[in-house]
Protein backbone atom coordinates (compact mmCIF):
# COMPACT_ATOMS: atom_id res chain seq x y z
CA UNK A 1 0.00 0.00 0.00
CA UNK A 2 2.82 2.31 0.96
CA UNK A 3 4.45 1.63 -2.42
CA UNK A 4 1.28 2.74 -4.25
CA UNK A 5 1.20 5.99 -2.27
CA UNK A 6 4.82 6.77 -3.20
CA UNK A 7 4.10 5.79 -6.80
CA UNK A 8 1.19 8.26 -7.09
CA UNK A 9 3.02 10.93 -5.14
CA UNK A 10 6.05 10.85 -7.47
CA UNK A 11 3.90 10.99 -10.63
CA UNK A 12 1.63 13.82 -9.42
CA UNK A 13 4.64 15.70 -8.05
CA UNK A 14 6.35 15.47 -11.44
CA UNK A 15 3.22 16.63 -13.27
CA UNK A 16 2.97 19.59 -10.88
CA UNK A 17 6.63 20.57 -11.33
CA UNK A 18 6.43 20.25 -15.14
CA UNK A 19 3.30 22.40 -15.25
CA UNK A 20 4.94 24.98 -13.00
CA UNK A 21 8.04 25.10 -15.22
CA UNK A 22 5.90 25.54 -18.35
CA UNK A 23 3.78 28.32 -16.84
CA UNK A 24 6.82 30.09 -15.35
CA UNK A 25 8.77 29.95 -18.61
CA UNK A 26 5.87 31.36 -20.64
CA UNK A 27 4.73 34.00 -18.13
CA UNK A 28 8.00 35.10 -16.54
CA UNK A 29 10.61 34.30 -19.19
CA UNK A 30 8.33 35.00 -22.15
CA UNK A 31 9.34 31.66 -23.65
CA UNK A 32 7.98 30.79 -27.07
CA UNK A 33 9.64 28.68 -29.70
CA UNK A 34 11.45 30.93 -32.21
CA UNK A 35 9.99 33.87 -30.21
CA UNK A 36 7.13 34.26 -32.68
CA UNK A 37 3.63 33.51 -31.44
CA UNK A 38 2.06 33.38 -34.85
CA UNK A 39 2.87 30.08 -36.55
CA UNK A 40 1.21 26.77 -35.80
CA UNK A 41 4.65 25.05 -35.94
CA UNK A 42 5.93 27.24 -33.12
CA UNK A 43 2.85 26.56 -31.00
CA UNK A 44 3.33 22.81 -31.51
CA UNK A 45 7.04 23.04 -30.70
CA UNK A 46 6.28 25.06 -27.58
CA UNK A 47 3.83 22.64 -26.03
CA UNK A 48 4.99 19.31 -27.52
CA UNK A 49 7.71 18.45 -24.93
CA UNK A 50 5.26 19.14 -22.09
CA UNK A 51 2.44 17.15 -23.68
CA UNK A 52 4.78 14.24 -24.39
CA UNK A 53 5.97 14.12 -20.77
CA UNK A 54 2.42 14.37 -19.40
CA UNK A 55 1.27 11.60 -21.74
CA UNK A 56 4.09 9.31 -20.54
CA UNK A 57 3.27 10.04 -16.90
CA UNK A 58 -0.46 9.46 -17.43
CA UNK A 59 0.26 6.07 -19.00
CA UNK A 60 2.29 5.13 -15.90
CA UNK A 61 -0.49 6.46 -13.66
CA UNK A 62 -3.22 4.47 -15.45
CA UNK A 63 -1.11 1.30 -15.34
CA UNK A 64 -0.80 1.81 -11.58
CA UNK A 65 -4.49 2.66 -11.03
CA UNK A 66 -5.66 -0.38 -12.94
CA UNK A 67 -3.19 -2.47 -10.99
CA UNK A 68 -1.67 -3.78 -14.23
CA UNK A 69 1.93 -2.87 -13.48
CA UNK A 70 3.66 -0.70 -10.95
CA UNK A 71 7.17 0.34 -11.93
CA UNK A 72 9.86 -0.11 -9.27
CA UNK A 73 10.30 3.20 -7.41
CA UNK A 74 13.98 3.77 -8.44
CA UNK A 75 13.05 3.33 -12.12
CA UNK A 76 10.05 5.63 -11.70
CA UNK A 77 12.29 8.23 -10.08
CA UNK A 78 14.73 7.97 -12.99
CA UNK A 79 11.87 8.37 -15.51
CA UNK A 80 10.54 11.41 -13.66
CA UNK A 81 14.07 12.78 -13.42
CA UNK A 82 14.78 12.53 -17.13
CA UNK A 83 11.40 14.02 -18.07
CA UNK A 84 12.07 16.95 -15.76
CA UNK A 85 15.65 17.34 -17.07
CA UNK A 86 14.39 17.41 -20.66
CA UNK A 87 11.56 19.88 -20.05
CA UNK A 88 13.57 22.15 -17.75
CA UNK A 89 16.37 22.08 -20.31
CA UNK A 90 14.00 23.25 -23.02
CA UNK A 91 11.85 25.73 -21.13
CA UNK A 92 14.61 27.32 -19.05
CA UNK A 93 16.88 27.49 -22.08
CA UNK A 94 19.58 25.23 -20.63
CA UNK A 95 20.08 23.40 -23.92
CA UNK A 96 20.32 26.67 -25.83
CA UNK A 97 22.96 28.31 -23.67
CA UNK A 98 25.18 25.36 -24.50
CA UNK A 99 25.50 23.74 -21.12
CA UNK A 100 26.99 20.79 -22.96
CA UNK A 101 26.81 18.31 -20.14
CA UNK A 102 23.08 18.93 -19.68
CA UNK A 103 22.23 17.34 -23.02
CA UNK A 104 24.74 14.53 -22.54
CA UNK A 105 23.57 13.70 -19.01
CA UNK A 106 19.94 13.71 -20.21
CA UNK A 107 20.90 11.26 -22.96
CA UNK A 108 22.84 9.10 -20.52
CA UNK A 109 19.98 8.88 -18.00
CA UNK A 110 17.42 8.23 -20.77
CA UNK A 111 19.64 5.46 -22.15
CA UNK A 112 19.90 3.92 -18.69
CA UNK A 113 16.09 3.88 -18.44
CA UNK A 114 15.63 2.35 -21.90
CA UNK A 115 18.31 -0.23 -21.12
CA UNK A 116 16.54 -1.11 -17.86
CA UNK A 117 13.25 -1.50 -19.74
CA UNK A 118 15.00 -3.83 -22.22
CA UNK A 119 16.57 -5.77 -19.36
CA UNK A 120 13.24 -6.07 -17.51
CA UNK A 121 11.54 -7.21 -20.72
CA UNK A 122 14.06 -10.04 -21.12
CA UNK A 123 13.85 -11.07 -17.48
CA UNK A 124 10.08 -11.35 -17.73
CA UNK A 125 10.37 -13.18 -21.04
CA UNK A 126 12.82 -15.65 -19.50
CA UNK A 127 10.48 -16.26 -16.55
CA UNK A 128 7.07 -16.25 -18.23
CA UNK A 129 7.95 -17.43 -21.76
CA UNK A 130 7.30 -21.10 -22.35
CA UNK A 131 9.88 -21.70 -25.06
CA UNK A 132 12.35 -19.02 -24.08
CA UNK A 133 15.66 -19.79 -22.41
CA UNK A 134 18.09 -16.87 -22.36
CA UNK A 135 21.75 -16.72 -21.43
CA UNK A 136 23.47 -13.80 -19.65
CA UNK A 137 25.60 -13.04 -22.74
CA UNK A 138 22.53 -12.81 -24.94
CA UNK A 139 20.70 -10.64 -22.39
CA UNK A 140 23.61 -8.18 -22.30
CA UNK A 141 23.94 -8.15 -26.11
CA UNK A 142 20.21 -7.60 -26.59
CA UNK A 143 20.11 -4.83 -23.97
CA UNK A 144 22.97 -3.04 -25.74
CA UNK A 145 21.38 -3.42 -29.17
CA UNK A 146 17.92 -2.41 -27.90
CA UNK A 147 19.22 0.76 -26.24
CA UNK A 148 21.41 1.86 -29.14
CA UNK A 149 18.55 1.31 -31.57
CA UNK A 150 16.32 3.55 -29.47
CA UNK A 151 19.13 6.10 -29.39
CA UNK A 152 19.30 6.13 -33.17
CA UNK A 153 15.49 6.33 -33.28
CA UNK A 154 15.64 9.46 -31.13
CA UNK A 155 18.23 11.04 -33.42
CA UNK A 156 15.99 10.32 -36.42
CA UNK A 157 13.12 11.96 -34.54
CA UNK A 158 15.35 15.01 -34.00
CA UNK A 159 16.17 15.10 -37.71
CA UNK A 160 12.50 14.84 -38.70
CA UNK A 161 11.60 17.57 -36.21
CA UNK A 162 14.36 19.80 -37.62
CA UNK A 163 13.33 19.15 -41.21
CA UNK A 164 9.56 19.41 -40.84
CA UNK A 165 8.99 21.81 -37.96
CA UNK A 166 12.20 23.81 -38.28
CA UNK A 167 13.47 23.12 -34.80
CA UNK A 168 17.22 23.08 -34.03
CA UNK A 169 17.46 19.92 -31.97
CA UNK A 170 20.62 18.77 -33.74
CA UNK A 171 22.30 22.20 -33.63
CA UNK A 172 23.10 21.70 -37.32
CA UNK A 173 26.02 19.51 -36.31
CA UNK A 174 26.65 15.81 -36.65
CA UNK A 175 29.27 16.07 -33.90
CA UNK A 176 26.45 16.75 -31.45
CA UNK A 177 24.58 13.71 -32.78
CA UNK A 178 27.67 11.56 -32.40
CA UNK A 179 28.19 12.70 -28.81
CA UNK A 180 24.53 11.96 -28.06
CA UNK A 181 24.93 8.45 -29.40
CA UNK A 182 28.13 7.96 -27.39
CA UNK A 183 26.22 8.98 -24.24
CA UNK A 184 23.54 6.42 -25.16
CA UNK A 185 26.19 3.72 -25.50
CA UNK A 186 27.68 4.60 -22.09
CA UNK A 187 24.18 4.33 -20.57
CA UNK A 188 23.67 0.95 -22.23
CA UNK A 189 27.11 -0.22 -21.06
CA UNK A 190 26.33 0.79 -17.47
CA UNK A 191 23.12 -1.25 -17.31
CA UNK A 192 24.66 -4.15 -19.25
CA UNK A 193 27.58 -4.27 -16.82
CA UNK A 194 25.32 -4.15 -13.76
CA UNK A 195 22.99 -6.70 -15.40
CA UNK A 196 25.83 -9.11 -16.14
CA UNK A 197 27.18 -8.78 -12.61
CA UNK A 198 23.69 -9.41 -11.19
CA UNK A 199 22.94 -12.34 -13.50
CA UNK A 200 26.15 -14.12 -12.45
CA UNK A 201 24.76 -14.25 -8.91
CA UNK A 202 20.99 -14.48 -9.40
CA UNK A 203 18.34 -15.86 -11.72
CA UNK A 204 15.20 -14.58 -13.45
CA UNK A 205 13.12 -16.24 -10.73
CA UNK A 206 14.83 -14.11 -8.05
CA UNK A 207 14.20 -11.06 -10.20
CA UNK A 208 10.49 -11.81 -10.62
CA UNK A 209 10.17 -12.42 -6.86
CA UNK A 210 11.18 -8.78 -6.39
CA UNK A 211 9.43 -7.26 -9.40
CA UNK A 212 6.42 -9.44 -10.17
CA UNK A 213 4.59 -8.79 -13.43
CA UNK A 214 1.85 -11.41 -13.04
CA UNK A 215 -0.96 -8.91 -13.60
CA UNK A 216 0.72 -7.39 -16.65
CA UNK A 217 1.27 -10.83 -18.17
CA UNK A 218 -2.32 -11.88 -17.43
CA UNK A 219 -3.58 -8.60 -18.93
CA UNK A 220 -1.52 -9.17 -22.11
CA UNK A 221 -2.64 -12.79 -22.40
CA UNK A 222 -6.28 -11.78 -21.95
CA UNK A 223 -5.89 -9.20 -24.75
CA UNK A 224 -4.41 -11.92 -26.96
CA UNK A 225 -7.32 -14.22 -26.20
CA UNK A 226 -5.35 -16.71 -24.12
CA UNK A 227 -7.02 -18.36 -21.13
CA UNK A 228 -3.98 -19.46 -19.09
CA UNK A 229 -3.00 -17.30 -16.14
CA UNK A 230 0.06 -16.80 -13.97
CA UNK A 231 0.89 -17.91 -11.36
CA UNK A 232 -0.52 -21.26 -12.55
CA UNK A 233 -3.18 -22.48 -10.13
CA UNK A 234 -2.25 -25.94 -8.91
CA UNK A 235 -5.09 -28.46 -9.37
CA UNK A 236 -6.50 -29.74 -6.08
CA UNK A 237 -5.67 -33.43 -5.65
CA UNK A 238 -8.92 -35.35 -5.92
CA UNK A 239 -9.86 -37.46 -2.96
CA UNK A 240 -10.23 -41.00 -4.36
CA UNK A 241 -11.65 -42.40 -1.11
CA UNK A 242 -15.03 -40.71 -1.70
Amino acid sequence: MRREIWYNLIIWGTILILTGVLVYSIVALDYWYHSSKGGIEDTILTFFPYMLAIFALLVLLILGWKGIYIFPIPILLAISGVLMMHDIGIYMGLYDVYIEWWDKVAHYVAAVIVAYIGFFFLMYLEHYGRTIKLTPTFIVLFTMAFTCTWGVGWEIYELISDEILGSTMQYMSYIDTMQDMMSDIFGALTVSGIGLWWLKRNSAETFVDHFSADKLVNFSRKKMGRQDKVPAVEAEPSDSSD
Partner: protein, 178 residues
Protein backbone atom coordinates in the same frame (compact mmCIF):
# COMPACT_ATOMS: atom_id res chain seq x y z
CA UNK B 1 39.02 -16.91 -35.11
CA UNK B 2 35.35 -16.12 -35.54
CA UNK B 3 35.60 -12.86 -33.61
CA UNK B 4 38.71 -11.88 -35.59
CA UNK B 5 36.99 -12.64 -38.90
CA UNK B 6 33.96 -10.54 -37.99
CA UNK B 7 36.17 -7.67 -36.77
CA UNK B 8 38.29 -7.60 -39.94
CA UNK B 9 35.17 -7.94 -42.07
CA UNK B 10 33.65 -4.85 -40.51
CA UNK B 11 36.79 -2.76 -40.56
CA UNK B 12 37.28 -3.66 -44.23
CA UNK B 13 33.78 -2.43 -45.05
CA UNK B 14 34.95 1.04 -44.05
CA UNK B 15 37.84 1.02 -46.51
CA UNK B 16 37.59 2.23 -50.07
CA UNK B 17 40.11 -0.20 -51.55
CA UNK B 18 38.68 -3.41 -53.04
CA UNK B 19 41.96 -5.21 -52.33
CA UNK B 20 41.21 -4.79 -48.63
CA UNK B 21 37.74 -6.19 -49.12
CA UNK B 22 38.97 -9.24 -50.97
CA UNK B 23 40.80 -10.83 -48.01
CA UNK B 24 37.88 -9.91 -45.80
CA UNK B 25 35.62 -11.84 -48.17
CA UNK B 26 37.94 -14.83 -47.86
CA UNK B 27 37.78 -14.47 -44.09
CA UNK B 28 33.99 -14.40 -44.26
CA UNK B 29 34.17 -17.64 -46.24
CA UNK B 30 36.44 -19.19 -43.62
CA UNK B 31 33.98 -18.05 -40.99
CA UNK B 32 31.23 -19.78 -42.95
CA UNK B 33 33.25 -22.99 -43.17
CA UNK B 34 33.92 -22.89 -39.44
CA UNK B 35 30.24 -22.59 -38.76
CA UNK B 36 29.29 -25.35 -41.20
CA UNK B 37 31.73 -27.69 -39.50
CA UNK B 38 30.55 -26.87 -36.03
CA UNK B 39 26.80 -26.69 -36.40
CA UNK B 40 24.53 -26.83 -39.42
CA UNK B 41 24.10 -25.81 -43.04
CA UNK B 42 21.91 -22.78 -42.34
CA UNK B 43 24.77 -20.92 -40.69
CA UNK B 44 26.83 -21.60 -43.78
CA UNK B 45 24.07 -20.13 -45.93
CA UNK B 46 23.91 -17.01 -43.83
CA UNK B 47 27.69 -16.56 -43.93
CA UNK B 48 27.62 -17.07 -47.69
CA UNK B 49 25.12 -14.24 -47.87
CA UNK B 50 27.54 -11.99 -45.98
CA UNK B 51 30.30 -13.09 -48.35
CA UNK B 52 28.15 -12.42 -51.42
CA UNK B 53 27.42 -8.96 -50.07
CA UNK B 54 31.12 -8.17 -49.86
CA UNK B 55 31.55 -9.32 -53.48
CA UNK B 56 28.65 -7.05 -54.51
CA UNK B 57 30.30 -4.12 -52.72
CA UNK B 58 33.56 -4.82 -54.53
CA UNK B 59 31.89 -5.04 -57.94
CA UNK B 60 29.96 -1.83 -57.25
CA UNK B 61 33.21 -0.03 -56.42
CA UNK B 62 35.10 -1.41 -59.41
CA UNK B 63 32.41 -0.15 -61.78
CA UNK B 64 32.27 3.26 -60.08
CA UNK B 65 28.68 2.83 -58.98
CA UNK B 66 29.19 5.10 -56.01
CA UNK B 67 29.47 8.33 -57.97
CA UNK B 68 25.70 8.76 -58.26
CA UNK B 69 22.81 8.52 -55.82
CA UNK B 70 21.71 5.12 -57.12
CA UNK B 71 25.14 3.73 -56.35
CA UNK B 72 24.93 5.07 -52.82
CA UNK B 73 21.54 3.45 -52.37
CA UNK B 74 22.96 0.17 -53.66
CA UNK B 75 25.76 0.40 -51.12
CA UNK B 76 23.22 0.92 -48.35
CA UNK B 77 21.31 -2.16 -49.49
CA UNK B 78 24.54 -4.15 -49.38
CA UNK B 79 25.40 -2.89 -45.88
CA UNK B 80 21.86 -3.62 -44.69
CA UNK B 81 22.03 -7.18 -46.05
CA UNK B 82 25.49 -7.71 -44.53
CA UNK B 83 24.35 -6.50 -41.09
CA UNK B 84 21.14 -8.51 -41.25
CA UNK B 85 22.91 -11.71 -42.24
CA UNK B 86 25.56 -11.20 -39.57
CA UNK B 87 22.84 -10.48 -36.99
CA UNK B 88 21.10 -13.69 -37.95
CA UNK B 89 24.39 -15.59 -37.89
CA UNK B 90 25.07 -14.31 -34.35
CA UNK B 91 21.60 -15.30 -33.10
CA UNK B 92 21.62 -18.72 -34.78
CA UNK B 93 25.17 -19.52 -33.66
CA UNK B 94 24.26 -18.53 -30.08
CA UNK B 95 21.27 -20.87 -30.28
CA UNK B 96 23.54 -23.66 -31.54
CA UNK B 97 26.45 -23.16 -29.17
CA UNK B 98 25.26 -21.57 -25.93
CA UNK B 99 22.00 -23.36 -25.16
CA UNK B 100 19.93 -20.30 -25.94
CA UNK B 101 16.28 -21.16 -26.65
CA UNK B 102 13.70 -18.92 -28.26
CA UNK B 103 10.72 -18.94 -30.56
CA UNK B 104 10.76 -17.54 -34.10
CA UNK B 105 9.29 -14.18 -33.10
CA UNK B 106 11.95 -13.57 -30.49
CA UNK B 107 14.70 -14.75 -32.86
CA UNK B 108 13.56 -12.28 -35.52
CA UNK B 109 13.28 -9.47 -32.97
CA UNK B 110 16.79 -10.19 -31.72
CA UNK B 111 18.12 -10.29 -35.28
CA UNK B 112 16.47 -6.95 -36.01
CA UNK B 113 17.97 -5.23 -32.99
CA UNK B 114 21.45 -6.72 -33.48
CA UNK B 115 21.43 -5.73 -37.18
CA UNK B 116 20.41 -2.17 -36.28
CA UNK B 117 23.09 -2.14 -33.59
CA UNK B 118 25.72 -3.15 -36.18
CA UNK B 119 24.57 -0.40 -38.56
CA UNK B 120 24.79 2.11 -35.71
CA UNK B 121 28.31 0.97 -34.93
CA UNK B 122 29.36 1.40 -38.57
CA UNK B 123 27.96 4.93 -38.75
CA UNK B 124 29.46 5.84 -35.39
CA UNK B 125 32.87 4.56 -36.51
CA UNK B 126 32.65 6.69 -39.66
CA UNK B 127 31.76 9.73 -37.59
CA UNK B 128 34.65 8.98 -35.25
CA UNK B 129 37.06 8.77 -38.20
CA UNK B 130 35.82 12.14 -39.40
CA UNK B 131 36.18 13.73 -35.98
CA UNK B 132 39.58 12.33 -35.12
CA UNK B 133 41.18 12.17 -38.55
CA UNK B 134 39.63 15.21 -40.17
CA UNK B 135 38.21 13.08 -43.00
CA UNK B 136 34.99 13.78 -44.85
CA UNK B 137 33.48 10.30 -44.95
CA UNK B 138 30.23 11.78 -43.69
CA UNK B 139 28.91 14.93 -45.30
CA UNK B 140 26.62 17.06 -43.12
CA UNK B 141 23.41 15.28 -42.23
CA UNK B 142 23.48 13.00 -45.25
CA UNK B 143 24.43 10.06 -43.05
CA UNK B 144 21.00 10.27 -41.44
CA UNK B 145 19.46 9.52 -44.81
CA UNK B 146 21.82 6.55 -45.11
CA UNK B 147 20.87 5.16 -41.74
CA UNK B 148 17.16 5.61 -42.48
CA UNK B 149 17.68 3.72 -45.77
CA UNK B 150 19.58 0.99 -43.89
CA UNK B 151 16.84 0.65 -41.29
CA UNK B 152 14.22 0.49 -44.04
CA UNK B 153 16.06 -2.28 -45.84
CA UNK B 154 16.72 -4.18 -42.62
CA UNK B 155 13.01 -4.12 -41.75
CA UNK B 156 12.25 -5.27 -45.30
CA UNK B 157 14.80 -8.05 -44.83
CA UNK B 158 13.16 -9.12 -41.58
CA UNK B 159 9.83 -9.32 -43.42
CA UNK B 160 11.49 -11.53 -46.08
CA UNK B 161 12.87 -13.73 -43.30
CA UNK B 162 9.41 -14.03 -41.74
CA UNK B 163 8.01 -15.18 -45.07
CA UNK B 164 10.97 -17.54 -45.51
CA UNK B 165 10.37 -19.14 -42.12
CA UNK B 166 6.65 -19.45 -42.76
CA UNK B 167 7.28 -21.09 -46.13
CA UNK B 168 9.30 -23.75 -44.30
CA UNK B 169 12.58 -22.88 -45.95
CA UNK B 170 15.05 -24.73 -43.71
CA UNK B 171 16.09 -22.00 -41.32
CA UNK B 172 16.32 -23.57 -37.93
CA UNK B 173 15.82 -21.12 -35.15
CA UNK B 174 14.54 -22.01 -31.72
CA UNK B 175 16.53 -25.22 -31.38
CA UNK B 176 16.65 -25.50 -27.64
CA UNK B 177 13.27 -25.17 -26.01
CA UNK B 178 12.15 -26.17 -22.61
Amino acid sequence: MLVLAIAIFFVSLLMTDPWVWFPSGVLALIMGREMIDRSNLNLGLISSLAFATVICLMVALLFNFYVDDLGYRLKEIAIAVACLSLGLAIVVSMISHTGLGMNKGMALLSTLFIALFLVTMIILTLLLFDTLGGNTLIVDNRWMMFIITDIGFIILGIWVLMVAIRSSIPLQVGGASR
